[in-house]
Symmetry: C2
Subunit: 184 residues, 2 copies
DNA sequence: GCTATGTTTGACAACACTGTCAAACATGCG
DNA sequence: CGCATGTTTGACAGTGTTGTCAAACATAGC
């Protein structure tokens, strides 16, 4: 194998993720990605085909990390602590950075379509299953499946409100209100 | 007053709203608005200054209509019926059209910043007050203010899920789950 | 009807992004 | 070493957007 890739693909994915996360999928251009990764635009086209394909690669890794973090937070035996830790994890994820970078999947859900939208749907489906598995073991006033979907919906709502109010404490309060309502 | 505006401003606002709602604030260009309204691009620049200023004018009317519809839905004496009607109104608003046009304020919240973001924040603040006034009269397991914020957050979550799943019935189910949880 | 006033129109230059490509390049392998 | 292979680079044409402007235009008021 001669003619070998000159740049570090893993580092490039991480930097590209940062660009997408900061600017949003739609507002990110190939020149932005070239500047953010330090890889020439032509090389990115050559290696991945374009913005959408590169995003899918990057988003796949993001998805795995996000779900792993969510699963870890939900592992607590106590349902209330588990859900609180879950929301703390989600809120920390979207309020990191200055200014806070927001929620990549929510922004993408709103901005994108086609295969990119499919990737977001898959993430939300997986998240719902993760929550379902945990909520089936809790004593709820509503069906576990419906509760799981409600929690997923709330994570999206929090992501939008983060954009509007830029107030992590408020997001935690609203999340706590849902947890209280769900667990009585 | 000679030199009078040749186009119907009200009709132009309505058509521009349709363009913004369909394409989203960011993806809408001045040529899009010119095509959608039938008013020359130069005239729009002359009359309003640019995309952002035109959006603010259009969004002001949208806001008034939206809040009026929400208030009407919340007017029911029975808290559960009132909240259900409220969510039905919101879901109907975002699932209208083929393909459904989504939630203008949520898309804008995620896509925009500056004065446009301020306008979205004002809408959400007003919506929160509207809900607070109604929820203060209901028997809830949580503080009315927190409940109002939770409901606002849920409307945003539903708007995002509408983009991802395109399934109005599912949105109504998730909304019903929240209503059940809140009112016990 | 004339005039002053504000509007409409089409065109302009400037800028940014896309996708592609040929030539220059780097490197693993024989 | 030298070659074959895949990569990198800078440049290109095509497309679309922005904001502006002078000239043409329409109309209210005199």
């Amino acid at each position: 194998m001669a003619g070998v890739r000159q740049f570090d693909e893993q580092a490039t994915f991480e930097r590209a993720l940062d660009v997408f996360w900061t600017k949003g999928f739609r507002a990110t251009s190939m020149p932005d990605l070239a500047a953010g990764t330090g890889v020439q635009r032509g090389s990115l086209y050559h290696a991945y085909g374009g913005k959408e394909q590169l995003f899918l690669k990057v988003f796949e890794q993001f998805t795995a990390d996000f779900l792993a973090g969510a699963a870890e937070a939900l592992a607590d035996d106590n349902p209330k602590r588990a859900l609180t830790a879950f929301f703390d994890f989600v809120i920390a994820s979207i309020t990191t950075g200055t200014p806070s970078r927001g929620c990549l999947s929510t922004r993408t859900a709103v901005e994108a379509d086609g295969v990119v939208e499919d990737a977001v749907r898959k993430l939300l489906d997986d998240l719902e299953e993760l929550l379902l598995a945990r909520l089936e073991q809790a004593d709820l006033a509503v069906e576990p499946r419906e509760a799981a979907r409600l929690v997923v919906a709330m994570t999206r709502g929090l992501a939008v409100l983060e954009r509007v109010y830029d107030d992590p404490a408020r997001l935690r309060e609203t999340a706590a209100t849902l947890v209280t309502s769900l667990l009585r």
